[in-house]
Symmetry: D2
């Protein structure tokens, strides 16, 4: 097959515009050849189990799945019974961007709360945390939060603990959508465990693709309760890879030599550099704290389209001119500086 694209192209559109980290592809090549058992009974998936116990502590499980939507749906289905509902932010990916899969595939009612910055607090949770026993209300039995958030902000371990304590006090479990958990951990300089198990989180959708995998997501759980039925749900949600060795090998690559951290650290650093440079430009307003690998910014309206033509990024709010600039594991200082220079030129 012939290459059909320019391997030097770069955008600020999304961290899934990037390809895979070369170490990840190399791991897949190592895992190839010969026969191993399918559906997870292979040595790579077995080894991954050991690595996960090292990273998250004894009793932690990681079950590979195929998409972030699939991870969220299966994780939430395992957490709540058929009559359970899940509280989430109005901006949550699970509510706005998954084609209705949680409701339609998962049969899960989502109870939404508007948040100022994509982050929940105990008080915000309380707005939907009521009505247990009321037969006409979907029963709020879990909360799902996103880390780093859809707005590029990050929960500290203390903020997470406040949320999980309040949720648990209400008899609700806590799920964390960690499509970009690596970026949050890198940002805070803490291990993955500090933002999940040690903060009281019950179940995590741990993302791989946005961190540099070809294709790989997972559900990480810390108890038998949180994992109840998960392997059956994974199959019935069409998330079970037959040649699972290849998915597991990617995750092994991600954990080995801290590839996840190296990739996230770079992406975050580029966002910080970008945010700082933009903030110094006239007529440019940074709208969210730059805490992970995204920069939300309002640009002078006449600069948006010319800049987009060269660097590609998405609108966040057409009404206000707010756009989202996303950095990836392969974003370089040069990419950032070129965008800033182009914008400076446009602003005259």
């Amino acid at each position: 097959m012939t290459r059909l694209h320019d391997p030097a192209a770069h955008t600020f559109a999304s961290d899934n515009y990037a390809g895979a980290h070369p170490e990840v592809l190399q791991a897949m090549i190592e895992a190839n050849g010969g026969h191993v058992a399918s559906y997870g009974a292979d040595p790579y998936t077995r080894r991954l189990g050991e690595v996960v116990a090292e990273v998250f502590g004894e009793g932690a499980s990681l079950d590979p799945v195929l998409t972030g939507t699939g991870a969220n749906v299966a994780a939430l289905q395992a957490l709540v019974p058929r009559w359970g509902a899940v509280i989430c932010a109005t901006t949550a990916h699970v509510y706005t961007d998954e084609g209705g899969a949680p409701e339609r595939l998962g049969g899960i009612k989502l109870l939404t709360v508007p948040t100022p910055d994509g982050k929940f607090t105990p008080e915000l949770i309380d707005r939907q945390a009521y009505g247990w026993g009321d037969q006409q209300r979907p029963q709020p039995l879990a909360v799902t939060i996103t880390q780093s958030t859809e707005l590029g902000t990050v929960y500290t371990p203390d903020e997470l603990r406040a949320i999980t304590d309040r949720s648990h006090a209400h008899g609700m479990t806590v799920h964390l959508d960690g499509a970009r958990l690596a970026n949050a951990a890198a940002s805070l300089g803490v291990p993955l465990r500090a933002l999940t198990r040690d903060a009281g989180v019950d179940s995590v959708s741990l993302g791989g693709t946005k961190n540099g995998l070809v294709l790989g997501e997972s559900v990480v759980t810390f108890s038998e309760e949180a994992r109840a039925g998960l392997v059956f749900l994974r199959k019935m949600d069409a998330q079970l890879a037959s040649k699972m060795r290849f998915t597991s090998a990617q995750f092994l690559a991600m954990f080995e030599d801290d590839l996840w951290l190296r990739s996230a650290t770079r992406a975050n650093a580029m966002a910080t550099r970008l945010g700082a440079a933009l903030a110094s430009l006239p007529g440019v307003t940074i709208t969210q704290a730059v805490e992970a690998n995204a920069v939300f910014v309002v640009l002078p309206i006449e600069a948006v389209e010319p800049l987009r033509a060269a660097h590609h990024f998405y609108d966040w709010n057409r009404a206000t001119g707010e756009v989202r600039l996303m950095c990836s594991f392969d974003t370089t200082e040069e990419h950032v500086d070129r965008l800033v220079a182009d914008l400076r030129a446009l602003l005259g």
Copy 2:
């Protein structure tokens, strides 16, 4: 990441015990690097569209998905409305091996018919083709067949045409589960198109993984009706890969230089060789015609476990001692001959 398995190991367990064909991994490496648009707006997916139009004719579409279960569910959801039911064989993978996904994820009622050899006929279809307009009966609006079948048998183009004609006469569409369509086409020496579009099939789950991909399945359709809503269903069924360039690149590798045909031809030839050799042994009964890459055989009971220890295969029917021996794209004459020699030795 370190290799954890023996790349020389071989089994007769399943074609998903095999790894990926090296040309497939090479295509993924070519597709890597730089940024391209996600969710299918990349040059590899675009090129794949052109290749599909060459292979299946103008107007054909191939939408990549992630699992065979996901392909079947999304394809059937696109074919029938909420109140539609789908007729299938009692042995169909979609009915027995997909964790209830068609019913539970897809909301599709399956109406089953026992078949002698996994193959439908117009007469067998008629057993469930009734009750349109009866408000208490799920409305039979599609038929799904498997090619090559779960029993290693193959439909000829004429047999397919008889089925699709009858189904269409009843106002029902026809879906083909082609997880091993390549093996059927190789067996019959006809192009993929002859077994699908030209035979009147409306929608196909075209498999890649069992033919040598890392991970890749797809839905191929030949009309706007059969593809209605498919891209939305793909997302809500959690089958949409963000870095789709890698899935599409695998399919491109499969179609280029007829890799699909080379791989299927080899697997089939090994099954033929195996079947012929086994048939000549005393006390051994071949139970299904060997028409693709599987051999169904009743072995002398005392030979089963020792042989399994060395070559690994699955029971098909414990009551009768029938086992299934599956050949893959990487099965060699040596693998086959070794199994036959081992069995001959066991039989004394």
Copy 3:
């Protein structure tokens, strides 16, 4: 069976605290005895079809179902395909009060818009009317509105027409949740047809229970498209009564001698009387226009519980002290005047 309640008791809690209108029970007695075909093939259901054609015009169909939730779910499932989403107000009963049935039973994604008074406008619809063709967005293909609304307000025929015109221009159909449609028609002094078919509405959940039936709801449609699959959906949504003669007889009683109008007119008149009397009291604020059979009012906080003890009603907003007072077909001037007198006494 012995009577266990006080038949003179009255509340302002809900129109489903009332029993059935005596003419309704009389119709059930008439329909009893002997054998008639089940599942709708009886003379009462047949006659109902004729009556419906008189009320709503040729080509209109009424399919009896069992609950308001069931009516809404089946009607919406018939209107939109699996990938369709439905736009509704944040206060819509279908979103807040149906136990998640539309999402979980119906597989329908709801796209919500906050409204000031429970009423949609073309501009409010536009807030969610976008993204057709975007594979990650549930496709907005229908709008559902409530008449009279959950806040006791009423759409005029012109307001409805503006909504249906805009929706149709977007390629979306319009469903009307008419659990209290009778109250709206009585309020405006127009026939049911003027608020539905003639206003461009495609499908209606026409309520019976809140208008004085024992148990009976229905889906009214005006085209084959809007009714597609409805009888199959009714069965698979567990809404098909076997002895349908009794449900149909209730609806016949409702339409004959304009019982629906007499009942709704009385309930509305009592709400008007109540609203007017309350508005004249010091410290009492009517919060929504009294256009149907509900009065939304903020009462002096110290009066709420004593008044509730005698007249029973529900809180609408605990934060503001807003309560909802609901009038029924059997509410009398005396009931209203007694509540007002009691409140006046409490206010000193």
Copy 4:
């Protein structure tokens, strides 16, 4: 409303062709008038709870629902988690006659077993009772049986106990579809409790409509586990009546003065009389033991249509000429004798 049918008409088509027992309608009239709380917080539903504890013993609960399909779906959803499957007979109503509701509304995979007479045995259950822990197999976690069966046969308490013991030994619960449980109890001369709770059954769909109610079904459970989430499931399955007093009043009428028993005894006696008379006629073959209120019989082919024109009944198997004759609470000796006389005349 005018009467539109002949109250003297009688058929052998189905027990839902009959109307309601006059005592049932009288109970609804008693329950009418004035205001009581809706959704089950009324004195009739409260009293029903006490009666149920008398009939089935302390700790038993009866939750009214609206259709047999709704009862079965909600009961099974409460018994098994999302990944659970339910074993049933191939002839089970839940599998063949409910429009796919268990699968599509309930998300429940049904695992079927052919039975000779509609009755399960421990050995038949074992045919599907395997595969726990196999991630690709829907997990068999409950068994559902029908009493009296779809073929008019009856399980004895000992037969039930054998089934529940085997099921429980497998870790599976047992649901009983009791649309005609009254007929079975009347046939065996035992209380309802002997065929349910005392026989180890966990959950029952207790039918009312076929026993003479206007409209009323229910789920009866004997433990908190079997009832888990049932009231929430009832709402989300659209089975919650707002004016529940009327449903509960019907059930009170059914239990008071043993109306259920009187009605079932009469229907059974008529079937016995009919079966005995038919068996004595030449060329007539009774095909199932007449143990409840149904007679399955093969009639001489030339007699079928003339007899059907006068007495209306359904074909059971067109290939063999087998028909089903159903007796109801209002079937009389005269009805039976007239059919027999007519048949005798036809046979010359």
